[in-house]
Assembly symmetry: D3
Homo-oligomer: 274 residues x 6
Amino acid sequence: MPAIREAVARAVAEDIGALGDVSAALLAVDSHVVASFVPRADGVIAGCLAATETFAQIDPAVRVDWSVDDGVEIVTGQVIGRVEGSLPSILTGERTALNFLCHLSGIASLTRRYVRATHGKARVRDTRKTTPGLRALEKAAVRAGGGVNHRGSLSDSVLIKDNHLAGLSIPQAVARARLRWPGLSVQVECDQRDQVNTAIEAGADLVLLDNMTPEQVAECVKIVDGRFPVEVSGNVSVETLGAYVDAGANLISVGALTHSAPVLDIGLDLDLNN
Amino acid sequence: MPAIREAVARAVAEDIGALGDVSAALLAVDSHVVASFVPRADGVIAGCLAATETFAQIDPAVRVDWSVDDGVEIVTGQVIGRVEGSLPSILTGERTALNFLCHLSGIASLTRRYVRATHGKARVRDTRKTTPGLRALEKAAVRAGGGVNHRGSLSDSVLIKDNHLAGLSIPQAVARARLRWPGLSVQVECDQRDQVNTAIEAGADLVLLDNMTPEQVAECVKIVDGRFPVEVSGNVSVETLGAYVDAGANLISVGALTHSAPVLDIGLDLDLNN
Amino acid sequence: MPAIREAVARAVAEDIGALGDVSAALLAVDSHVVASFVPRADGVIAGCLAATETFAQIDPAVRVDWSVDDGVEIVTGQVIGRVEGSLPSILTGERTALNFLCHLSGIASLTRRYVRATHGKARVRDTRKTTPGLRALEKAAVRAGGGVNHRGSLSDSVLIKDNHLAGLSIPQAVARARLRWPGLSVQVECDQRDQVNTAIEAGADLVLLDNMTPEQVAECVKIVDGRFPVEVSGNVSVETLGAYVDAGANLISVGALTHSAPVLDIGLDLDLNN
Amino acid sequence: MPAIREAVARAVAEDIGALGDVSAALLAVDSHVVASFVPRADGVIAGCLAATETFAQIDPAVRVDWSVDDGVEIVTGQVIGRVEGSLPSILTGERTALNFLCHLSGIASLTRRYVRATHGKARVRDTRKTTPGLRALEKAAVRAGGGVNHRGSLSDSVLIKDNHLAGLSIPQAVARARLRWPGLSVQVECDQRDQVNTAIEAGADLVLLDNMTPEQVAECVKIVDGRFPVEVSGNVSVETLGAYVDAGANLISVGALTHSAPVLDIGLDLDLNN
Amino acid sequence: MPAIREAVARAVAEDIGALGDVSAALLAVDSHVVASFVPRADGVIAGCLAATETFAQIDPAVRVDWSVDDGVEIVTGQVIGRVEGSLPSILTGERTALNFLCHLSGIASLTRRYVRATHGKARVRDTRKTTPGLRALEKAAVRAGGGVNHRGSLSDSVLIKDNHLAGLSIPQAVARARLRWPGLSVQVECDQRDQVNTAIEAGADLVLLDNMTPEQVAECVKIVDGRFPVEVSGNVSVETLGAYVDAGANLISVGALTHSAPVLDIGLDLDLNN
Amino acid sequence: MPAIREAVARAVAEDIGALGDVSAALLAVDSHVVASFVPRADGVIAGCLAATETFAQIDPAVRVDWSVDDGVEIVTGQVIGRVEGSLPSILTGERTALNFLCHLSGIASLTRRYVRATHGKARVRDTRKTTPGLRALEKAAVRAGGGVNHRGSLSDSVLIKDNHLAGLSIPQAVARARLRWPGLSVQVECDQRDQVNTAIEAGADLVLLDNMTPEQVAECVKIVDGRFPVEVSGNVSVETLGAYVDAGANLISVGALTHSAPVLDIGLDLDLNN
């Protein structure tokens, strides 16, 4: 996948610097070791391909094997993968490989927590609030966590937000969207109940209820009346999510999945008996 | 700065997609607006240059002015900057500009919390646990937050960690480092008291105490006896930091500054009266 | 726009070579001229921004002004824009600027011919059959010609084609798409009438009738019965398009718009009196 | 070849988008298929390496084998190559691989038509009127079609065109070129008979007769009198080419080879029995 | 010029590292200074545009003005240009700007020495033995020094060298070249007198006499008898060049111009009175 | 290593041009040969990986084997490596592979000469005066020659030079550096004896004596009195180096290693008996 290759190339370049790994250079090149990826906390793994690619770019002779696939739940202390090859090459790649693995697994793990909290009654969705330069990898990590993706880019579907309404009304927006972008779904972000009515009348495909209380959401769910899935957004937390699900929301958008997920701590342990 | 230009170019490209912003395309090109950057929470700002560059790459006619510089503390509701120009251009750039601003301000804000917790008795330091592709920008955000930087790359200084010791002893490592990399500082990560003695005898410039209790740190501080600053690392939190400072640590390394900082929520509000 | 900047940078680099423009180098650097963009045939202009950017990258002192915007109909001999600056710079950029302008105007002009042939009773749509590396620019040229865009990328909407059916049935495909990609429109390409029924029952948002006769299309239009716009594809020409429109098609997809449009011939004439 | 790798990487990136292929994602990853490249029209194949590279970048486990080489004539329905591997990977790469193959084969096929029309009495040549970003691949496709290449870039040889004459005379141009660029061939584009005499006297290596009638060309051929090959350009079509060849032209430059060749329609058919 | 922009961007990126200029960061940002470019030795200047571009990429507010153009002879202590702006920005860019300026001026200066040694009776030519990644800039520096360029790339002209003759004879090579690459000049490298005869009979445009003594060159000059310029190559030094010129060589190729030119030492002096 | 891959990709692209290798294209593709890398002068080899990578990028079927590693002394006429594969591929890659090999071996060889001249009593160090775009490769070549590296980039350590003193004093500089960049070594360039005292008192880690006579160096060595290694710079030549070593210098910085090393001449000879 080109997105992974390029992200890894950038990360390796920024970590290696002009002199290379000055610490690993002190080691004998021919020291051969095996090391294990071991989580320090429970969570969901994501980013295996990026970690593998990191070692491939640094030293094609290093071999990486995984016992798990992206999306699998892993537990503290479990050996989830092994790296085998020259000690200096492995040490040079360790941090970059772990930076991908921990960051993306952090996203997958947080997503899984939100997914769990829905008890299967709604789906959890990411946003475009991703870390600059890592959109494709983070969206894949959300899927690994059991979430579904919102727009990949501004090209993917029409979403009319409050700031657009400074320039045109909801009916105008929907009408123009139908004309210019047939086949793209048209979604309207509403922060008031009236806008939901307007959006439905205008023929929107979906509404996104922004910053509403569960009570307001329940009213809007009634208005929508099963025409399409109802999406809720606006600082929904794992704690408050249940109320929105109970209010009838079908999709819960959570920016935090990609913008504020703490890493899942994973380490690389040398196998000293090997 | 080339690092900012390239990071922004990648972020804009991944957000725009092949059709451009299909929603903004519904608006009249000549609608001119002013909008304000407004924090939704208190914190420390960072990333202004990246946000400015985002709009510059999308539409050079958009003008961005800041009332604050990176590193300044900002409060909820304060107008910290203004954007002026065509409405569709501003909407197209909004998310990418905010993604940089919120992510980097999140790092600066978390750093400031740690810095505060030291009460001026130690300094807070980042690590190489940065988000892949954003090393330079995140290191600058740590400085904006009042922290100091650890190595920028594997070229910057010699740091001997536990995994290196699979291939050579501490005295061997320091001796070889002196020979091969004169002028680079040589640091040894120690997770046992004995290693500190060994490192000092070997002539290391700094030791990094990893995963020790405050009591163990206090003992090591005595051993070091003012020869050089003592650095502590290993899942130090804002809560536990005080005990390490009291134990005599001079530098506290915190991976979370860059790998797990939640965003600082900042929005872009259209000035409707304008 | 980054897409234009990058496409122009590549084109300029591939045309300039390692010695620069060896012919223009024979001219005096300070010879100042004005030149006019003049079409040699009637058509629709597109690509003005790319042509402007070409000269900007070669010599920022060259000034380009357009009398027309993308999408305007232009006639043989009309002066549609002017370039002013150093003669060698203008000659160095001439071919690359015209390559963009003629290629993209060729696409806009062919699109306009198809649009005309619908007499306003259907819309003309492009495909993903674009020239590698120029997707965003060609899609914009189709819009300039009056057409509408199909998917910008494989991320934009779900389209189930015959080859997908080797792996899953239409109902399976639609059901999985709803589950995994809520909010993305789901389209099914059908080359038999039965598939249209199946797609409707499965809940597809759109069907794309591929390689059908106008008679078959008319039957499918009856089946669809206004539920959504009906799209037709498969080597539709300007000549055969009318029959499909009369059969009730709402959208006509034409790969030739981007893969086989001949250039619109536009030249750059020096203004010798200037 | 770096040119192919980079062109393919750009094309794959622009087609995949931030979410990946949302349609192929609905399929089982382990479904293994064989598919055949099959032309829908007769022509000349080109671009095999680019198509192979496309699948290699998407999934190295996909295997591509060709029964033909670039430059071979292929007929409707013939199996010219096979792809074997995971169904979703093949579907993800299909369009990009075909975009290269159909575009470049279109150029090779049109070139072959022109070459045929010369009955071996002249050679057919391309121009710098190539699609931006694809110069090297399109020039190779012209060679596959049996044509010969004109300048690859502005560095390759000196060509004095009418617009250069605004700044210097033909004798001045040739004299300066000899001085500054010894070893590069010097060619002069002439649209009047007198210029041919002037160019010969000035010592040009070649003349390029632009926009002349066959009669005018015949006169110029007499003037040149075998000193060097005579080249003709200016909207020569397959129909009018014969008259120019009969008039004694040795080289026929045709911009349309690269700027207006329609694609050669080639499809990828799944082998359902496999 | 894209070649300069890209070369400078790479050089700035490799020099700045992940932390930025840690030394300049100690200075006050608002300290405004003027500095002068001053040669420490006599020579010929080249690379002014690259030096200017370096500061532009680091800080657009820094202003650079030159008193000389590329190709001008400069003397020790002369102020050849001035930089004005923030002290830390100027210090950050100083080394990279000087690296371009000193390297390219070194090439121009060495070229000028060779040119002088010809006393105007021959021209001095570079080779493809350039520093990887700097071909276009080094070729321009040779021109600034008064030399002329050989091939810019392998696309520019046909040059048959000894290793090609393992695969085909000189007459075969020339005949095939005429057929496949009409309009490109065909040059044959000869290290024996007989090859010169063969090349002339085969119709080569130029011969390049490699590793011959002046006496052998004189014999070959007689054979060529004014048909075309005679080129000499093979470790010609400033000292031995005269003998080759006297032997009748018209062009002297010198790989050392680009592969072994020592820098011209140029410094940047702060104007302390300013 | 990404640095090598990217440097090679740029070099191959700039040498191949838009038409490819027009000379090698005249040869039969299936002619298989073996060729040997053979030095034409004695020296130290460096750049083997870059030469190998060059052929890998042009034609993965070409095989390269080395009899020596970077850093080994090689003698005129020795076969140091072999290339085996298609003749046209080998000829296309020959010049670029040799450009890397000769340039980097030139640096290694010059470094070795300086290292020899120290008779083991001091170490030889490079500077940041590297060829733009080749920093990492040239620094590795210095190590191959037996030298040690100075800063890889402006991020690597603090170095206060004369121009910095326009903005702050030595004690200010050292104090601020300790505060802002704990763990980075702080070096002060001194061109007067007094500055050495000041730097020591300020607590600098190293001093770099710039443009001093051996006598002045000897005095400074006394002042430093073994606190840290003393470094000397400023146009030290192989001839003058001994006096500085005798004066007690421990490190000798030589810009010429990377900015003015002539190439080590290495050729590629076809094995005609093979």
